[in-house]
Symmetry: C2
């Protein structure tokens, strides 16, 4: 196969989209759609990364309050995911606009999104400028999962997640598990 040089632009996919909630100083919540969220430290402790441009409203809110919640969406709310990525929380209440339902979190002020089966409450450990985005490292202090996605042993069942991936500006469902030969 002949290879050709191309100009890189967000070259890695498929990536896990996330709805990230934050609050302003008065507790008013906002939602930002991110094309990906990163697992960096996977167990001890669990630390996630999210990259946000400086000009985004959520960048300001999370910088001030140093808390956020990562909510993993399902195919059923794909339209709301697009919506939350296409308007600014500076001018719109995205919970009202999307119809998504805020639920109080346990250890942080930003709300969980009820329609998302996995919710990760995060406290910011640090922020750093990396090229055209700023990376917010967040320690997961509480994880919530819908009862409906858990198997009998209480583990998350991938087949029940209705997850989707972000691929070059598009959302794609998952297909089938690749068997191991």
């Amino acid at each position: 196969m002949t290879k050709r040089q191309v100009t890189p632009h967000r070259p890695i996919y498929p990536t896990p989209a996330g709805l990230v909630t934050s609050v302003d100083a008065d507790g008013r919540p906002n939602i930002i759609t991110l094309g990906e969220v990163f697992n960096i430290s996977i167990a001890r402790p669990v630390i996630l990364g999210i990259a946000i441009r400086k000009e985004r409203y959520s960048h300001q809110l999370i910088s001030e309050t140093r808390e956020y919640v990562v909510n993993l969406p399902t195919q059923e709310i794909a339209e709301q995911v697009w919506y939350c990525g296409s308007v600014s929380g500076r001018s719109v209440d995205k919970f009202s606009g999307s119809g998504l339902t805020p639920v109080p979190a346990q250890r942080v002020r930003p709300p969980l999104i009820a329609e998302c089966p996995i919710n990760l409450e995060c406290k910011v450990l640090g922020v750093q400028e990396i090229g055209d985005h700023d990376l917010f490292l967040g320690e997961v202090v509480v994880q919530h999962a819908d009862e409906g996605i858990l198997d009998q042993a209480g583990r998350i069942s991938v087949g029940k997640l209705c997850a989707f991936a972000f691929v070059n500006g598009e959302f794609w469902t998952l297909g089938r598990k690749i068997p191991r030969t």
Copy 2:
């Protein structure tokens, strides 16, 4: 839907698996399978993140040479992806063991993997300890793409990638594009 607290462990999915190549001081190449690679800065410049445990051989190699190549796999080489994640380059030549084909890179010493349709040559900008993994930030200095995945305008065609996602210890194909209503 009732929510339940669960113990977090690598909670974000689906994630983009990658085969990352590196070399030792004598130029002998190695391959590590990672469950995910991160787009952090998406355009100016393009900066990727990879998280590797300190005890992995690739951690040592990339720390010493400060170069790596991210190769995005296809479904056709899923078995080789498993293989490269299940043995150590300290004791095995993974190119020989997997049958994958090294191709010289242009600006770094680690080779491209011919069977991967996207190859990203990276130079390390920095390394930082984040919990149980170390994060290597790498600037993409050259991107290669197989001619066969490009459309007539020279853009990467997602449908031709045969990409797959890493989901909770399993590999899953992509299904269908979710239409926008």
